[in-house]
């Protein structure tokens, strides 16, 4: 505790670097995975290529990827860009699968109803498919967030600044406190990120909370019924993900 108070400034700045290295890949991951899943959904051949490639890339251990990437990208080994790209690859690999599953499980009736109502393909994607797959996307993002925050610390072995530095320097100086502070700081970061994601999901998917009340009154009015469909579908999706994610 004393050590932490004396060095809190350093810990906080490492934590900030850590957060940046963990969050950027999540943002890039979503930006790449969602369009990729949408394109892969419409093309069988591409779909199997995307799924195979993503599971293949996902099997490559992070430390190895941190070292292979500089050769591919032409960056220096100490460049934090390597870490961001490596973690983005993992994020895309995980999210593309989850998003494809989510798109697949959007109720076909809903999609046809949207077509009948005159939704153009792009509007349908933005207003029907995407919102309904948000619960699954967020479930995937929460997994990515936890694993990213843990994986970033491995990059410290190569000398890239983040909370993992506390582990390497703690080991070199035979100083347990520093390592313990590092572990606790990383756990706190993981918890905070998870809480932020849960909050964000609640804000973006208000209908999942209305599910309980709207199913009861669903038959009463047309508007109510409209809500029931997506809500029920979203609930199904989140159920599907919890069982899938656990396996």
């Amino acid at each position: 505790m004393e050590w932490f108070l004396a060095n809190s400034e350093q810990v906080f700045s490492l934590a900030a670097q850590h957060l940046v290295l963990a969050i950027l890949p999540m943002v890039f991951g979503v930006l790449i995975a969602v369009p990729l899943a949408q394109v892969a959904r419409q093309n069988r051949g591409l779909r199997s290529v995307v799924l195979t490639a993503s599971s293949l890339l996902y099997t490559i251990p992070s430390l190895a990827l941190f070292i292979i990437l500089p050769t591919v990208l032409g960056t220096r080994i100490l460049d934090p860009v390597n870490v961001v790209v490596a973690l983005t690859i993992y994020a895309v690999a995980l999210l593309v699968r989850a998003t494809l599953d989510a798109f697949d499980s959007v109720d076909e009736d809903l999609r046809q109803a949207a077509v009948a109502m005159g939704f153009k393909p792009f509007a349908r994607f933005l207003q029907i498919d995407l919102p309904l797959s948000l619960p699954v996307l967020f479930a995937g993002l929460r997994v990515v967030s936890v694993s990213n925050i843990s994986l970033v610390s491995v990059a410290a072995l190569l000398g890239i600044g983040n909370l993992g530095m506390l582990f390497t320097s703690g080991l070199q100086r035979d100083f347990v406190t520093e390592v313990v502070v590092g572990i606790i700081a990383i756990l706190i970061l993981a918890l905070l990120m998870d809480a932020v994601l849960v909050l964000l999901e609640r804000l973006l998917t208000p209908w999942t909370r209305a599910a309980g009340s709207s199913t009861a009154s669903g038959a009463d009015s047309g508007a109510g019924q409209e809500k029931t469909g997506p809500a029920a579908a979203a609930l199904r999706l989140s159920d599907a993900q919890t069982s899938g994610g656990a396996s």
């Binding site: 599971s55 293949l56 099997t59 490559i60 251990p61 992070s62 430390l63 190895a64 990827l65 070292i67 292979i68 050769t71 032409g74 080994i77 936890v146 694993s147 925050i149 843990s150 994986l151 610390s153 491995v154 410290a156 072995l157 190569l158 909370l163 993992g164 506390l166 582990f167 390497t168 703690g170 080991l171 035979d174 100083f175 347990v176 390592v179 313990v180 590092g182 572990i183 990383i186 756990l187 993981a190 918890l191 069982s243 656990a246 396996s247």
Partner: protein, 248 residues
């Protein structure tokens, strides 16, 4: 960049790197040995707990919470902590790896057992099976595909984490990364990384092949099949064959 590639190819094909106690075959064997040791210990811990929690439903919340919290633990932090507290040697890092490998195994086992069709379990019980028979002859065979999924994740995670162990004076393919880092010998680092990536992909392919050859009858992943199994079980004659067939 191309010079790095040719130098790496030269490193990988240099006969000197394929013999001796620091040669690639020895490092590969060490890597697989550590991974195997971790998997044996982690399986011995996670599977019984997972079976118990999945079968009885007791401690479900605790198991899920513990598995989730363990997942958030940073690999490197745990490794350094164990080494600082217990000293350098084979076992401290291995125990750290075991702690990191238990969550996917535990989650897979628990989720596998919990996902077995309740009708199958009730039918097995109604046929007069004892609780242990229900667990090992009805639930276990049906849960096997999901459990195996957890095992696969665990193996890959162990292979990845074992490469970090070289940082703490142990062997394995990770040695090339850290030796290369100290010597600024980038071809050696890249060669080692390619070997690790190749090993992970090869092991995953073998595990996938095993799954396809021996575990394709996945009742829990195919709802129609599990309903079929339930129907089979209610009929006493095929039930025996179905259950025993699954155990083998």
């Amino acid at each position: 960049m191309s010079s790095v590639v040719t130098e790496t190819i030269a490193w990988l094909t240099d006969p000197a790197n394929w013999s001796g106690s620091a040669g690639i075959p020895v490092r590969l064997a060490e890597h697989l040995l550590y991974t195997g040791l971790v998997m044996v210990i982690a399986t011995a811990i996670a599977v019984p707990i997972g079976l118990y929690v999945g079968h009885t439903g007791r401690g479900r919340v605790a198991a899920v919470a513990v598995a989730g919290a363990l997942r958030a633990l940073p690999t490197l932090g745990l490794l350094t902590l164990f080494v600082l507290l217990a000293g350098i040697g084979l076992m401290p890092p291995i125990w750290a790896l075991v702690i990191l490998t238990v969550p996917p195994l535990l989650a897979g086992t628990y989720a596998g057992i919990a996902s077995v069709d309740r009708n199958v379990v009730d039918a097995a019980r109604a046929m007069g099976m004892t609780e242990l028979q229900v667990l090992f002859r009805a639930e276990f065979p049906n849960a096997l595909p999901v459990m195996y999924g957890g095992f696969r994740t665990g193996v890959l995670q162990a292979i990845a984490t074992v490469s970090v162990v070289a940082y703490i004076n142990l062997g394995g393919l990770g040695r090339y990364l850290f030796d290369g880092l100290v010597l600024s010998d980038f071809p050696q680092m890249l060669g080692g990384s390619l070997l690790i990536a190749g090993l992970a992909i090869a092991v995953d392919l073998v595990l996938a092949l095993i799954q396809r050859l021996f575990l394709s009858q996945g009742a829990s992943t195919q709802p129609n099949r599990s309903q079929q199994a339930a129907v089979d079980l209610t009929d006493p004659v095929p039930a025996g064959t179905a259950v025993q067939g699954g155990t083998s």
